[in-house]
Symmetry: C2
C-alpha cells in the first residue's frame, strides 16, 4: 500500500513527464490540487486529458507490443462514472463498435472506475470477443484455451449451442457481488471468413476470426492509480490469428488439417510440412481481412513500424524498453530487422499488468 506522500510523489513524476512532453499546457497549480485531493479523499482524479496521456504512455511503455508507433493515436474513453453492470456492458459494446469502425479499426481504450473509488470492477473475460471451447469425451470443439472459462459461464446459466466459433458471453463483476453475464449483440461483432487466394479448400474448413482484439483482463496503472477494468484494443497482426490462435497445438491446431488438404505428408519433418501449412494459413488470414476491408498488419510491416518507433523514441530522448521474445514475430523471424536488435526491458509506469483472475 502507498502512503499519501507516495501518492503525491507518483502523481508528481507523472505530471512532470506530462509537461515535459509538451502535450498539455502547463498548469503550475495542478500538483497542488492533486495533493489536496489525495489528503482529503485518499486518491486523486486525473482530468480527461491526463487520463488520455496516461493511456498513451501505458501503451508506449508496453514492452511486449510491436504496435507502439501509433501510441499517440489512442482514443481514451472516460467511463469512470459508471457504477452498474448494465451500463458497463453498454460501454463495452460501444467500445467494440467504435474500435471496429466498420473495418477501419481505431485504437481505443475505455477506462472504468479506479480501484479506490468504490468496489473493484472486473471483467472476467480475457478479451471482449472470444470463441468458447467445449470438451466432450476428450474431444474439444471451439477454442481449447477457453474451455475452463466456458464451463464457468455455463455454471452462471449461459446456454451455448456448442459450435466451433461461438461467442462467449461477457461476465462483469463489481466487488463481491454476483457476477452478471451478457450476450454481445451479434451485429456489434465484425468477423472475417478465412479464404485463400489460391487454395480453395480453405472454404470447406469454415474458419473465421473476429476483427478486433480487445484485451479485457489487464489492469491499467498510472501515477499510483489502478484501473482494474480498462479494456484496450488495436488491430491485429496476422500472425496472432494465423500462427497462434488457429495454428498452436493447444488452440485450433489447424496445421495438420491444412497440410493434409495441401497433400503434404505429415511424416516428413524434413520436408517442412508444418512450415508450409503455417505459411498458407498466414497468407489466407491476411488475404481474407484485406478482402473484407478489415484493417490488419503483416509482421514485416509491423516490424518496420516498430523500428521507426525506436528511432522516434530515441529522437525524443527516451530509451525504448522491449521484450525481444514477444516483439519478434513467431514466424520468419530472422527476415525482420527486430530479430537482429536487442533492448533493455525494465518495467515503467504507466503500464498494463496481469491481475489474478477473480473466477479461479
Amino acid at each position: 500500500m502507498y502512503s499519501k506522500e507516495e501518492y503525491v510523489q507518483e502523481a508528481e513524476k507523472f505530471i512532470k513527464v506530462h509537461h515535459q512532453d509538451k502535450w498539455y499546457e502547463k498548469k503550475l497549480n495542478r500538483l497542488e490540487s492533486i495533493r489536496e485531493q489525495i489528503y482529503s479523499e485518499g486518491t486523486w482524479t486525473p482530468t480527461k486529458d491526463e487520463l488520455k496521456k496516461g493511456g498513451q504512455m501505458a501503451w508506449r511503455n508496453s514492452s511486449r507490443c510491436i504496435g507502439r508507433l501509433f501510441h499517440m493515436s489512442l482514443n481514451v474513453k472516460d467511463k469512470r462514472n459508471l457504477t452498474d453492470e448494465n451500463e458497463i456492458f453498454e460501454a463495452l459494446v460501444e467500445h467494440l463498435q467504435e474500435a471496429t469502425n466498420e473495418g477501419r479499426i481505431k485504437p481505443v481504450m475505455t477506462v472504468f472506475r479506479e480501484r479506490r473509488k468504490g468496489e473493484e470492477i472486473r471483467i472476467w473475460n480475457k478479451q471482449l470477443v472470444r470463441y468458447a471451447g467445449f470438451e466432450n469425451d476428450g474431444v474439444i470443439t471451439g477454442d481449447p484455451a477457453e474451455v475452463e472459462f466456458t464451463n464457468k459461464c455455463i455454471g452462471l446459466g449461459w446456454k451455448p449451442k456448442r459450435t466451433a466459433f461461438e461467442l462467449l458471453p461477457i461476465v462483469i463483476q463489481i466487488g463481491n457481488r454476483e457476477p452478471k453475464w451478457f450476450e454481445l449483440p451479434r451485429k456489434s461483432v465484425l468477423e472475417v471468413k478465412i479464404t485463400h487466394p489460391e487454395l480453395h479448400f480453405f472454404e470447406e474448413l469454415q474458419l473465421k476470426w473476429y476483427a478486433v482484439p480487445v484485451i479485457t483482463d489487464m489492469a491499467f496503472r498510472m501515477a499510483g492509480l489502478e484501473y482494474t477494468a480498462a479494456p484496450f484494443s488495436g488491430w491485429y497482426m496476422g500472425t496472432e490469428i494465423a500462427a497462434r490462435n488457429l495454428a498452436d497445438e493447444n488452440r485450433y491446431n489447424m496445421l495438420p488439417v491444412v497440410a493434409k488438404k495441401m497433400g503434404l505428408s505429415t511424416n516428413s519433418r524434413h520436408d517442412l510440412w508444418k512450415d508450409r501449412a503455417l505459411l498458407e494459413i498466414n497468407r489466407a488470414v491476411l488475404y481474407s481481412f484485406k478482402k473484407a476491408g478489415v484493417m490488419i498488419t503483416d509482421h514485416h510491416t509491423a516490424s518496420r513500424q516498430f523500428m521507426k518507433f525506436c528511432t522516434r523514441e530515441k529522437e525524443a530522448g527516451r530509451e525504448v524498453m522491449a521484450d525481444w521474445s514477444w516483439i519478434v514475430p513467431p514466424m520468419s523471424a530472422s527476415t525482420m530487422e527486430v530479430f537482429h536488435k536487442q533492448w533493455q526491458d525494465n518495467v515503467s509506469d504507466p503500464n498494463f499488468y496481469y491481475q489474478e483472475k477473480k473466477w479461479k
Copy 2:
C-alpha cells in the same frame, strides 16, 4: 588472475562433478597430484579422459546450443603437444576429415595447448571452412560477413580468384609471431550443391554450402584452464544455412533473387513474399544435403531433441541453462515446443567463450 589455491578449487569442483557423473572410475589421489602440479608448474594437465569430459560438459553448458542432446558423443582429440603452425594446420585438416566422415558427420573437438603452457595459440578464422567476401565499388561477391577478414588474408599474401564461394585460407598465430596462412586441401572440404525438389531454377543460382561448421574462434575453458584454440563441430541445422547464411540481408541475401525466380512481387509485404522464398530455400537446403548423403537436421527435429535433452538433464538432477533467443529457431518459431518454454540462463564452466580477435 587466479591464485594457486583458486586453481586447486576450480580443479576440485571439476573433479567432483566428473566423479559424480560416474563417467570415470574414482581416483582418490588425483586431486592431490593436481595440487602438486599446480604448486610446482603453475598449471595442471588434465588426463585425456578428463579433457574429454571437460569438452562434453562445455557443450552441455552451451546455453545457446539446441544440439546438446548429443553431448556425450563428442570426440575430443588431444593435440596439446603441438607447438608448430604446420603441425597445427595438419591437425585442423585431420579434424575436418574426421568430423566430415564422408557425410556421416561426427561431433568433434580438437584441443591445442593451454594458455599458460607456452605462447598462446590462436586461429584467426571464425570457422575452418568459410567463403571469402570481396567488395568492389560497393558490390560484394561472396560472403559479406568475411570481407574484412578476406582483406586481412590478402594483406598476408593470399591470392584469391574472387569468386562467390571461394575457400578462405586458415590463419594460425602463435604468441606474437607472424601469423602463417595455409590453403585447405580441396578434397578435405565436403560441399553440397543446393537444388530444390520442385523448383528447378535453383540450379541456375549455383548455390552451395559446406558440410561441416567448425567453430575456430571461441575459447574452451575448464576448471581454471583456458584453451584459446579448441575448434569444435557438429552437423548443421538447416536454418543456419538457409535462413541465415544464404538469406540474411547482410549475408548472401538470396530472398529477393529466389522470390523473383518464383514469380513473386517483392512489392507486397502483405502476400509474404519473403516468407515464401525463405521456406523454399530451407526446403532446398534440407533436400540437397539429404540427397548428397550429408547429415543435417531440420529445426523441428532439433527442437524435439532439445526437449528430450531437457528431460534427461532433469532426470540427472541438473538444471538446463538456455538462451531462449538463440535456442528458438529463426523460422516458424511458434510451431515448435521450445518456443513455448522458458529457461534460466546463467553461465557455468566448463564452457565456450568469445575472445577478442587478434587481427583487429
